[in-house]
């Protein structure tokens, strides 16, 4: 029964391969891509349901018993992240149909997108650190090509920085893996957790903590934490908006997922030190990200800086290290990915309507497209965290968890940063929707209507609808997150699921 855990990896793979078979027929690729994304969403929801009912599930690939073979493990956190991948995959697959130009679609855009989804799902599911490295590379390779596809000058320059820093991160990850294997003789996460917990002495703990810093650096670059985030605002705004939306929703979140995974399961020996450091980094990430955003005048760059700022919040939940803190982190990751991708998709519609992303040159969209303004406002206020939006509940539970542990500084920072987030969202609102449009050459992209341009609008409506669903359905939604938080704080459950109870 739990063999079906491989489905979230196999479905994108099959979709991508099918797309490649129809490489000369982009029209067929488009439909294969959308159907594949739908299948992924259905399977991911089914996985979530299955894990919710049955608890943590593990499957040993090739029937090699853990810790010798590769294990796929899904706990609730993994399942929630896979649902996120399914949701964003479907939204972006539909949005890409018209918004990505025919040339890019003819050169393998769709298969690349599904390879990316495969890498992301693999990273969420694997229970083996080296396997995680391999999934990272699958995901990175697809993202490199997606970023560079099209070959505009900005894309090339952005891609150089993105590729260099991500390869650096991979090299650090690889070095850390080598040292960890030399130390523990295993790379299975559950086995590592068990070994480190059973053989804890002061000196071995010191070595493990030193190693954990290498992992923090490697995952930190991918998650774009302070001070390792410079590749992100230099590259994320260069590809088509659909690609940016997918990246913003999933790629940095894989880094956050990996950080949460290793720092709740493996590296918990000296959490006074490591988790305090995480809190400091979380605070600095929030502040630098939001200050960077406030200074921007290009909509996509502004939103890119917000990705960085919002990464700080789940890290804060991890640093607080209580079931409530981690539950809040899980809920926050889901919420922020939805809100962020929605904002990017809306920026794409604005770019199409006005032909520019420059805040100075935009204006008057409220009068022209009031419903677009309403959609933007929903996502923007959710990102800033105004009640009764999902962002409010996410931040409220983080603040509660922080106050419960007496971490007043980080709570104060997180609230201050929320205000600045609101400020920069209002800045976009004022410049794009509210102010009188500046007089310039007319690049009017024409009217945009739901009947004709449903591929542009349906994904936005879908994501906004989901944001509202987890806002007003906060009870059940947070119950899932709370259960995920409890599972993360009880590594024994994870170890038992992978290695069996008898050991």
């Amino acid at each position: 029964m739990n063999r079906s855990l491989v489905l979230p990896i196999v479905i994108p793979l099959l979709t991508a391969v099918l797309c490649l078979l129809f490489f000369r027929k982009p029209q067929i690729q488009r439909w294969v891509s959308v159907i594949g994304a739908m299948a992924l969403l259905v399977v991911s929801l089914w996985t979530l349901r299955f894990i919710w009912d049955e608890g943590i599930q593990a499957v040993q690939i090739g029937n090699w018993p853990a810790p010798f073979g590769i294990t796929l493990v899904a706990d609730l956190f993994s399942a929630v992240m896979i649902v996120l991948a399914g949701v964003l995959g479907l939204a972006v697959a539909v949005y890409s149909l018209d918004s990505v130009d025919a040339q890019r679609q003819a050169f393998g855009y769709h298969p690349l997108m599904h390879f990316l989804l495969m890498g992301v799902c693999g990273a969420f599911l694997t229970g083996d650190l080296f396997n995680l490295y391999v999934w990272f590379e699958v995901m990175l390779m697809a993202s490199f090509v997606l970023l560079a596809l099209g070959g505009e000058r900005g894309q090339m320059e952005g891609a150089i920085k993105y590729v260099t820093l991500n390869l650096l991160s991979s090299a650090i990850f690889l070095a850390a893996l080598g040292l960890l294997y030399g130390l523990a003789g295993t790379l299975n996460m559950a086995d590592l957790a068990r070994k480190f917990a059973s053989s804890a002495t002061a000196s071995s703990n010191a070595i493990v903590t030193a190693l954990s810093m290498l992992f923090l650096g490697a995952f930190g670059i991918k998650a774009a934490i302070f001070p390792l985030f410079f590749w992100l605002p230099a590259s994320y705004h260069t590809p088509p908006v659909a690609v940016t939306a997918l990246f913003s929703g999933l790629l940095t979140k894989v880094g956050v997922y990996s950080l949460i995974r290793v720092f709740t399961l493996i590296f918990i020996q000296e959490f006074d030190y490591t988790h305090t450091l995480l809190l400091v980094i979380a605070g600095l990430t929030m502040i630098t990200g939001v200050l960077g955003a406030v200074a921007q005048n290009e909509m996509r760059r502004l939103l890119s800086f917000h990705i960085i700022s919002q990464i700080g919040y789940p890290l804060m939940g991890l640093g607080i290290f209580t079931p409530l803190g981690l539950a809040a982190a899980v809920y926050f990751v889901f919420h922020v990915s939805l809100a962020k991708s929605t904002l990017f998709l809306i920026s794409g519609v604005i770019g199409r309507l006005r032909g520019t992303f420059d805040l100075k040159k935009l204006g008057g969209l409220y009068k022209a497209q009031a419903w677009l303004a309403a959609l933007f406002l929903t996502a923007a206020l959710s990102l800033a965290g105004l009640p009764p939006s999902s962002g409010f509940f996410a931040k409220l539970s983080l603040v509660q968890a922080g106050l419960g542990q007496g971490q007043f500084v980080i709570v104060a920072i997180s609230l201050g940063v929320s205000l600045l987030t609101l400020f920069s969202m209002i800045k976009i609102w004022n410049e794009v929707f509210w102010k009188r449009p500046p007089v310039l050459e007319d690049v009017d992209g024409g009217e945009i209507t739901l009947q004709r341009d449903w591929t542009w609008l349906a994904p936005i409506l879908f994501l906004v609808g989901l944001t509202l669903l987890i806002s007003f359905g906060i009870g059940p939604a947070f119950e899932i997150a709370a259960q995920a938080g409890r599972q993360l704080m009880t590594p024994q459950l994870y170890i038992q699921a992978v290695l069996g109870g008898g050991r």
């Binding site: 391999v134 090509v145 505009e152 090339m156 320059e157 590729v163 390869l167």
Partner: protein, 115 residues
């Protein structure tokens, strides 16, 4: 070997980082290549070196007799080499395209996206 390899790895890392910090695009790529070599050697060394003892079960025994070399790190390195081969090929192509579109190989000139 245990004495020599750390120095080799250390110098490879030093060279790699020096090359990464250069302004030339080609030297950046050389730096990335060296970096992955250094990491591979690090895995090889950190997992422990056992000379001339292949992990093969003798005909007369029914399980592996220690001491023997650990085959897993070599499998890991093999995977990592294949991955870094693909990535390097992509990075070279990307660098060429970037050079063509920006008309320079000086990284300091490539900051139009940072404005």
């Amino acid at each position: 070997m245990e004495v020599v390899l750390p120095f080799v790895i250390g110098s490879l890392y030093a060279m790699a980082i020096y090359m990464l910090l250069r302004r030339s695009l080609v030297k950046l790529l050389i730096g990335l290549g060296l970096l992955s070599h250094a990491s591979n050697l690090l895995i090889f060394t950190a997992a422990g070196l056992t000379r001339s003892k292949a992990p093969v079960i003798a005909l007369t025994a029914d399980q592996l007799q220690p001491p023997h070399a650990d085959p897993l790190p070599q499998a890991l390195i093999l995977t990592a080499i294949v991955i870094s081969f693909g990535v390097t090929a992509f990075a070279l192509a990307l660098a060429y395209r970037a050079y063509r579109s920006a008309d320079t190989d000086d990284l300091d000139q490539m900051k139009s996206t940072d404005a």
